[in-house]
Amino acid sequence: MSSTGASVADETPSPGGRDPLSGDGAATGRLGDRIFAGATVGAGLLVVVVVVLVGIFLLAQALPALRVDQASFFTSTQWHTGSTLAFGIAGLLWATVATSIVALLVAVPFSVAIALFLTQYAPRWLSRPAAGLIDLLAAVPSIVYGLWGGYIVAGKWAPIQDGVSTVLGWIPLFAKVDGITGGSTLFFVGLVLAVMILPIITALSREIFDQTPTTHKEGAYALGATKWEMIRTAVLPFGKAGVISASMLGLGRALGETIAVMMILSGLPQGAPWTWSLFNGGATFASKIASDASEFSGGLSTGAYIAAGLVLFVLTFVVNAIARVIIDRRKAFTE
């Protein structure tokens, strides 16, 4: 778990005092020690192997289908998985990215504000129970979000969306799409996803804001800053990397969310015209795979879905890796 890259540095005990016992004689030789150490290494390596296998198996199962794909995989919006395979991910990619970006744009400002509230504004007695309440949002199962969003909120949201469409419909993003009702659009899914990823971004931002050195804060106050100015000059710059990293983790969650999206988003008929409108229906990678899951036969047509799953895996892998790199950089910088 050391944050430095060089293995030379790992051999010297860290100043934190966590590993003065590394290389202790007690660990060598005895049978029990060797078995136990072996078991822990095995478990660790198993995790690595599983992640690698996910990539390998998905790739291996996707390739046969990709080879006979009649359409361009990356640019086509078709999805025919009958006797002839013609599928492309352009539509899925757009729906996935559009909903996730909407979710992120809504959730990040809210999460930062709530994290500031919990760490800087809330009175001491309120801070912990309030954080617990926000965390409860993360405990709500996603199918309940789907139920609530798709059945309860969607109807209330529809008139708002129609209003936006009427006023701003000349912007392609907000154009009205025929046959798609208000509560089943990419934009609305983005809003529900925002609520779902809010707790994780809030929790991580809160952790970072809490670590702001008191000296920075007092320094700002000593120069006559108001509370807000103190936050702008001390807390936010200190927490910037952490907030970005937390947002990436939230983005990863939004990209892969399945059942809530599937329950809310209305599907499009085959050959529906392409539009950039956020007030359109569609399917994300995850919702497409899940909604057609009952038809999986294990044959070539399943390969098309596995190919879509592979793209989703690569997307979330990259997003999570970026989040991790940002955190590690920051650790190396502050420690």
Partner: protein
């Protein structure tokens, strides 16, 4: 006359501008605005939580009060519109608990051993790769985990899907949760305890099993409970790996098995039918209460442990 008296006092009026509290109106206004916005953001975030609880409890709680809801499954159910009986969700509750328990049995040993490796043994490049992969695993969408198990189990090895497959996929989601929380707990165990044990000639493995793990036990329990509450509410892997069935099945290794989320999914399309609607909201209410109770229990254990320390 009054103006004459007022006149000498006039120079006093501008005094506040030279007071030591010399913040300009604009800066004060910004500060107030920030305070208001931050409070508003928090209160607004509570709206979905309250709204969800209100909806689910309001529409579903009365279903839970009937004994048949807990005792019966959905066998004999007719298509929506023809049915007049809500019947029960025993099959779904049993399925959810069984699959989540098997998940826990698979995931927890691997997760705890991985955490021990990362804290007590892991050094250098291998440990960094393992830690990185735990992060990646925690970010893998549940549908991808399910697709992986499907691609391996069905397409590659040609085996039949059994409910235990869902547990395998869910275990992939639970491992990182438990690993991370166990890791945090192990790091909190003071090194003096380990050193004292070594000084008495106790082997390293025994020190870990008898000294380090018991000290961080409650923290590990918290992680396990939080992980359990996460997988119990998962739906996506079940859609691929545990097809819904209206009958009670207590065998994890054959047939299909219902779960609370798949019961909701199964009845959702006919939610406007009053009978189906009761099943949907009843199942949602049961699920949310199950998950929240386990989640809160986990946090309670964590908090009590902190008090003890």
């Amino acid at each position: 006359m009054t103006t004459d008296i007022a006149a000498p006092e006039a120079p006093e009026a501008p005094r506040p501008t030279v007071s030591l509290d010399g913040r300009s109106g604009g800066r004060k206004a910004k500060n107030t605005l920030a305070t208001v916005l931050v409070w508003a953001a928090f209160l607004l975030a509570l709206v979905p939580l309250v709204w969800i609880m209100w909806t689910v409890l309001g529409r579903g709680f009365h279903v839970l009060l009937s004994a048949t809801w807990w005792q019966k499954d959905q066998s004999g159910a007719l298509p929506p519109g023809f049915d007049t009986n809500v019947r029960g969700m025993r099959h779904a509750l049993v399925g959810t608990l069984l699959m989540s328990l098997l998940t826990t049995v698979i995931a927890v040993p691997i997760a705890i051993l991985t955490a021990i490796y990362l804290v007590e043994y892991g050094r250098g490049r291998v440990a960094r790769v393992v830690s990185f992969m735990v992060d990646i695993l925690s970010g893998i969408p549940s549908i991808v985990a399910a697709l992986f198990i499907f691609a391996a189990w069905v397409t590659t090895f040609g085996l039949k899907i059994i409910p235990a497959c869902a547990s395998l996929a869910l275990a992939m989601l639970m491992i990182p949760v438990v690993t991370r929380s166990t890791e945090e707990m192990l790091k909190l165990v003071p090194n003096e305890l380990r050193e004292a044990s070594y000084a008495l000639g106790v082997p390293k493995w025994k020190t870990i099993v008898r000294i380090v793990l018991p000290t961080s036990f409650s923290g590990i329990v918290t992680g396990v409970l939080l992980g359990f509450s996460r997988v119990a509410g998962e739906t996506a892997p079940l859609l691929l790996l545990a097809a819904y069935t209206p009958y009670l099945n207590e065998n994890l290794f054959s047939g299909s098995m219902a779960a609370l989320p798949t019961l909701i999914n199964n009845q959702f399309l006919s939610i406007n039918d009053p009978i189906s609607g009761q099943r949907v909201w009843g199942a949602a209410c049961t699920l949310i209460l199950l998950v929240l109770v386990i989640n809160l229990l986990g946090r309670l254990v964590g908090r009590l442990a902190k008090v003890k320390r």
